[in-house]
Symmetry: C2
Subunit: 426 residues, 2 copies
Amino acid sequence: MGTLISNTLAILPSGETHTAGRHDIYVDGTDIVGIDEAPRGFVADQTIDGSRRLTIPGLVNAHTHTYMSMMRNVADDLSFADWLFGTIEPLEDRLEPEDAYWASLLSQVEMIHSGTTCFNDMQMHIGQTTRAVVESGMRAVICRGLVGGEYDLNERRIREALEERDAFADCDRLSFRLGPHAPYSCGPDYLRGVADLAQREGMGIHIHIAESQTESDNLWEQHHCTPVEYVRDAGIFEVPTIAAHCIRVNESDRSILAEHGVSVVTNPASNMKLGNGFAPVPELVAAGINVCLGTDGAASNNAQNMFREMSLLALVHKGTHDTPQCISAEETLAMATRNAAKALELPTGAIEVGKKADLVLLDLDAPSLMPLNNPVAALAYSANGSEVTDVIIDGRTVLRNRELLTIDEERVRHEIARICQRLGLA
Amino acid sequence: MGTLISNTLAILPSGETHTAGRHDIYVDGTDIVGIDEAPRGFVADQTIDGSRRLTIPGLVNAHTHTYMSMMRNVADDLSFADWLFGTIEPLEDRLEPEDAYWASLLSQVEMIHSGTTCFNDMQMHIGQTTRAVVESGMRAVICRGLVGGEYDLNERRIREALEERDAFADCDRLSFRLGPHAPYSCGPDYLRGVADLAQREGMGIHIHIAESQTESDNLWEQHHCTPVEYVRDAGIFEVPTIAAHCIRVNESDRSILAEHGVSVVTNPASNMKLGNGFAPVPELVAAGINVCLGTDGAASNNAQNMFREMSLLALVHKGTHDTPQCISAEETLAMATRNAAKALELPTGAIEVGKKADLVLLDLDAPSLMPLNNPVAALAYSANGSEVTDVIIDGRTVLRNRELLTIDEERVRHEIARICQRLGLA
């Protein structure tokens, strides 16, 4: 299937930054096969007129829990403990596996409409997010959340994680990591077991680290170390690791993360919303760490919109550091695209020949993009996601003129309403 | 002209907070004339099916400069001085009055699409924003920006401000205030003259106060007072005053603002973007000050979307104060609606019989609003403005099924492109 996006204003990588210019983009099968020049024998089965479109690499949401959209706005303006233990966890316990499927699909509807083509998910209901990804056409990294004290290879969760990976081996858009939940929910022995397993299976790790002051305080009291040291000492960083949050990380922690090539995902909305503060993103960048951007789940965000997250990322550190030069629009776009692709070890996140065709088209006639004095700045500071008209993932058009081709939105609404009724929600 | 919005989920005021419930809303002429009960003799010329809509009071953008959308994304990630003196002011000098008309209209297109029905504008090109408001159907408070050292009643700017007020006296949607720009651009004598004039003419004041540390430092050096004290000493607070920013205000300043009934407009995006930090909103609220929300101009925001601003407001102070209970969704909605209406002395900002019919309808089928576990939280944390389908201002439908009825968007695009070409912009 050949697709030509003709004469579009496209944002292409250019060294460490990006440049915007008019281009023809050629897609064949799942890949970008040409820019401005069609490869020999290329046949366009469809041509998209890009003249009034800004084409960007699909956004990569590097940390979320898609099933949590079921808990959107259930518990706001509460303390972390009241939020998690008083409301979210009791509700989670009542979710059926099938509920997680519909909730994940709902998150994916929201993500596709707002220009996200790939996400990194930590989930609990085996086979559900995966099934939703097969249907939606998105690209995803799936991590079964793992918690425990003593390590046991035959533990249900670990068994499930490996079984799920094997069951979906034929879907190229899916890859799998192990998801030991956090220092406060995984004992040292358990983390060591998971690290060994990851080594043997050649799998990466996705973990929460240093999300709250309480986590740091408790760990110091019990183990006399920081969350980063705790995770390092268990051997986790010996395999490719993506660490979400990393708010309470001191200079020494940042050196450890940099030294081990750990990628950090910052989640500004969720971190502020739960009263956990701001990750030291400028300092993480200065330490040479690969920083990416994520929304976290809709129970703590409460959206799955990477444009909103980009604007938060580009703004909040200018506020905390009292300087307008802190975290530029360029850095923001990189954290939402190629840095995340690097962290997830996926050939996406840039409009380049040989990369996967994960492309998002925005309406240049949208008032928020007008006048388009600086396209990269417009993405970080002006767009809100509503400008997205077309989304191509893995070479396949999944959104055309704002219409979702892969998911029956009416059915999703119906099922979400049914689940709400059963759970006594909205 | 009678309009019935039937069976809609509406957010109604309820003491200090809001309640959401199913209602019929009756509009006649410019006013809300009934809720659930039609007034005697009411005839519906149009009925809007509200069953899949969330109806909210139109949002009020309490501080902006609509003509500045022309400078959107022209200068980002720069120091305040490079931004203002190096780029924005030289560009402003090249704007023709007619350019300001089209730029203001562009801002109004963006505002209407994202649910704003009223704005408080500080502007420089007399007769242009006003003309655009007459056309768009929005409600606005217009303040001619005033700067100077010595006061002279016959000065051009002051003359123009009064002439403009008189020229547009027949448009009920327009009201006028005096806009002495800021402590750093207005001498004490000038401010005193403007305060006297406002007293005589029965006009309110709209002013920037304490936006940056530099402003405070310079004022301390020159006059040994804070910006708030400087403005108070000139007599400005003797008339109803709206003060934008108020970032660098200490406890004594906050007492002064409270004592004089000054309303404060916070502009989180602009304040962060220019590296000016965060206004002490929780402390302003604790002092009993009426706090409202604004976007500021698109040169420093870089959007005119009050939903994005609401999410920033609801999030950032939780971050700076390390507590999730800081600035609730309820407070956020109030700051974007009724607090602003109070500050601007306008009968809008709430769905209540007797108030102006400034109403915004959101699509309950939008994925970001699903499931709608808490409608007020959804407005503050989940919506991005793209959910807006219909907007009624002063009883007149200006947006229907996302289509603008009052403004020719194609013409606006054409004119903006023409101006960009002349100015050598995008």
